[in-house]
Symmetry: C2
Subunit: 640 residues, 2 copies
Amino acid sequence: MSLTNLKKFLIGDPFPTSHEIHERLDKVRALAIFASDPISSNAYATEAIMSVLVVLGSGALSLTLPLGLAVAALILLVISSYIQTIMHYPKGGGAYMVTKDNLGTLPSLIAAAALLMDYILTVSVSVSAGVRAVTSAFPAVHPYRVHIALAAIVLITWVNLRGMRESGTIFAIPTYAFVGGVLLVIVIGLVRYFGLFGAAPIPPSTEEIFAETSLTGFAYIWLLLRAFAGGCTALTGIEAISDGVQAFKPPESKNAAITMIVMGTIAMSLFIGITFLSTHLSLVPNEAESILSQLTRRVTSGGFLYYWVQVFTAMILFLAANTGYQDFPRLSYFLANDGFLPRWMQNRGDRLVFSSGIVVLAIVSSTLVILFQADEIAMLPLYALGVMLSFSLSQSGMFRLMGRISHLKPGESIQTKVTEVHYEKNTRAKQALNAVGATVTSIVFIILTSTKFLEGAWIVAVMIPILVLFFNAIRRHYARVADALTTSGMTVENIKEVGNVVLVPIADVHRGSILAIEYAKRISNDVRVLTIMTSPEMEERFMRRWKRFPEVVEDVLLVVIEYDFRDILQPLLEYIVTVSDLEFPEMITTVVIPEFIPESQVAGFLHNQTAVRLRAGLRHHRDIVVIDVPYHIESLKKTE
Amino acid sequence: MSLTNLKKFLIGDPFPTSHEIHERLDKVRALAIFASDPISSNAYATEAIMSVLVVLGSGALSLTLPLGLAVAALILLVISSYIQTIMHYPKGGGAYMVTKDNLGTLPSLIAAAALLMDYILTVSVSVSAGVRAVTSAFPAVHPYRVHIALAAIVLITWVNLRGMRESGTIFAIPTYAFVGGVLLVIVIGLVRYFGLFGAAPIPPSTEEIFAETSLTGFAYIWLLLRAFAGGCTALTGIEAISDGVQAFKPPESKNAAITMIVMGTIAMSLFIGITFLSTHLSLVPNEAESILSQLTRRVTSGGFLYYWVQVFTAMILFLAANTGYQDFPRLSYFLANDGFLPRWMQNRGDRLVFSSGIVVLAIVSSTLVILFQADEIAMLPLYALGVMLSFSLSQSGMFRLMGRISHLKPGESIQTKVTEVHYEKNTRAKQALNAVGATVTSIVFIILTSTKFLEGAWIVAVMIPILVLFFNAIRRHYARVADALTTSGMTVENIKEVGNVVLVPIADVHRGSILAIEYAKRISNDVRVLTIMTSPEMEERFMRRWKRFPEVVEDVLLVVIEYDFRDILQPLLEYIVTVSDLEFPEMITTVVIPEFIPESQVAGFLHNQTAVRLRAGLRHHRDIVVIDVPYHIESLKKTE
């Protein structure tokens, strides 16, 4: 049982199921655990807008702020929609549940497939981005970037397997340190920019002004849309909380909604603050230094705060992977619960987290990291599409739900497939909000997909239908199994009869095979011992030993099969199946297999494993019951 | 059964055991199959001597011929010793058998370990050398040399798995083409050199003469010894035939001895011919072109024959690996037969070859190729040591055997451990020959080991004792098993009693578990159904279904275990083991496991596999018999 001990050592003592409520998250930990992805996007979202606009010349960079505000408005829109989702679907499930409840199974599976892929990419991309931060600081370790990324995945996986509360505690520090650091930078920046409290002004930009490029009509709008789409990376990870409502301490919906609002406020403040200052300080994106780093350096003049922000930027990029570890296992749980993924993905592990989902995520995202050699730039075209698709599906779903609610009178309520909704006010206004949200996110999704199609977005387009087919295949399998196993309509007469015969295949006469024969004699009076003889010498030796125990072999039929090949499995199987099919059709035939159990797995390697192969071969045949009569080397010795 | 068909397609139809004699080798095929290694060494053996001597200046190269003659004398010595071995050990087994019979177990295991390692290296080194020939011709494929080497190993493995006769046929062409080509070069060379039949003389050497380096005393002798040791690479593979006497058509010993003589004659003629001409044409070894290539070019003036020899040199280097495929599986067979290697290594496969040995050799040599990146130069220091060690052990063994025979009077015979020997003449002379052989090969072994120790020979020195320990551990395991299983001294009263209880762990009430309960009721009247309940809802649903079949559950004890964790294996195992140990000590307890068998392996992945895990967990406990009651989804449907 040393494997069990190792597991205990690594993962910790198992938690009883009844302790589940103690493992729930308070709002402080929940924010840290769910918000690392959306908050970390502030490290690059402003820059994503600016690096598109800079093509038009540095003058066009002044468009960053309006576009940034548009993105912030979209964040606001999405967050208000998700708060509605949280309040109406207190069991969690996010976009998948909303779509399933309001738009049907197929759209919900599309949303699920898109999100699962995005969660996997969240891990691969974030870890790779974190590794890039490390290798930028220490170029010597660059050749080992894949190893470092895999080590990081192992570490995050391990912490998550130890339980949610614990990982919340561990991940809180870098998240809050990043938020605090950047907020401070923004405050100092604003104070200095507006010259409040007599603060020293920020030194003017020394960046050279680019020549203006004039684009007109469609090309110009297309570029603006691309810039806007770039800024939309700030939206990834927002839906995490809506999936995980059940991870919160009661009252779950309320706590989740509050956390969502706090998260949105923080993410938006950081985003607008960074965007405002970047534009007004006339920062220009460049390859060598990120906008956030430029901004921090200018505002803080490169002091302690500068290094603080840099260090925690690297750390929060790493930790953004953790959002994937929250979302993927939970969405898998909902899918498994509905029979679209393997059942075992809905089981909680020793520490009450969805361990199987965590492990599957670790394996798939590690594979991606290896395939893409930890190069997050190459993975980016695949990323964020899924989130945007699920946003538009989820908002469309909320639009329908609000439509249904709008028909209710005060005091009325209806039960949908998965939740119960009551009368509420302002449904038309909320619906309008959802309509705008659905439209905008759909447009952004189309922009993202079309601009990145050839760079890799086609992979997502191909994978989504494949995953949906896969979900349906699994569901059909479970339906078939349930159908075959159900006892409804079953009577006792349906149960198969047990044939009186017992077959005992043996290779030689020894303590193990004699024990098996004795066992067989105990449950039947038609015992047939089968043995395959591949040479006359073998047969002669066998018969000599056979006759040594007349009291064992009396009343037993010995079937000797002479065989001119070496692999004795085939004739054994053939004899057994023939007896089962012809002599005892539609009845159960029993086979007793004496199996020698060596002291260790390694020792098992020294033996022919005929018993194991025979059992495996018989599995495929119907109506055959196999009895393993083991004989342990050590135990037999002790009874002498 | 499509796996069986694939195997048949790849390997061919199985041969019956009684056809073994048809699969034996005639002398022509045997020569091709056993001689590729010793004959291929002519491609480099002369050069190996010259490249050491050239350090002393080109004048010293004239010592090549005497040293070559010394090596040839050693070959003669070894071959005569091995012909004696073949005649006295007609069952084969070579150095291992001779050493075991005359010097005892430990020396025989040392010889076996040394040889096994050398056979593995034969494959890795030869294949890598062949690949070097290919990549020299096509430098573009150099980055894929490991892949090419592995592909070559797969190919040779495949041909060998198809059977000996077939591989003999396939490998005959390059072997005979190489021998014929080189012999023709030597004949033409001699004719032209001596000006016979008015042949045109060979153009004089244009190589510049190196300055003489004068070494004296020990250093000089050491260098000569190293040159001699280099030439001894010509001896590798010679012992192959003595291992494989039983692969020949009857009369086995005679045919094997004739083949050995022919092989020795060919190998020696080529070696002396090449050495004679190389010295007398004043060839000087250089990096860019091998001595054999220089010789062939000068003699044939670069015509068709030149390319013939080059092509078949590359091919025979590849094929030298095949000698390893003959030797390794056969020596493994002898060791397995004596219980020093896993038993299954003595089984013949479908095509009557030792398939397991072939596969093990392929795996280990592929691993070496990967570890050494197909660089045979790096592997060479490990190579040929084993052969030399086994030569000296085997000759010492033959020395002892001859001593025992010398005491016999005409007509007398004695039975040794493994063979029968009769009176023969000239035993003293033969013994002297063996003594000289043993001494010389021991000295060569010491030279090889000491000159190459730091370059890699130490690995061999470390591995031999490890392998010997490994052999002994396996032997002890089998002895322990045999001891535990033997029926000698056993009486029927020794047989364990079967306890009357039958435990049936089930997760739910469905057709599968009902079938298992019915089966259990048939063999015992103390049936206890175990079930683990992890939540009240689960229990309520279970009890509802349980009560639906009163005629099934009457007389059955239901044991409901409430459990506050998710992994139900532990409480199940604990209950079963407690019943077995406390209620029915020293008796057999029966457990009936209902096992759901999905339509396919892939579908199995969708289920929890509790049955499989439970069975695995119970294996480690004594006195527990497990009955698998399978329920196939498809079959159950059909009976409705």
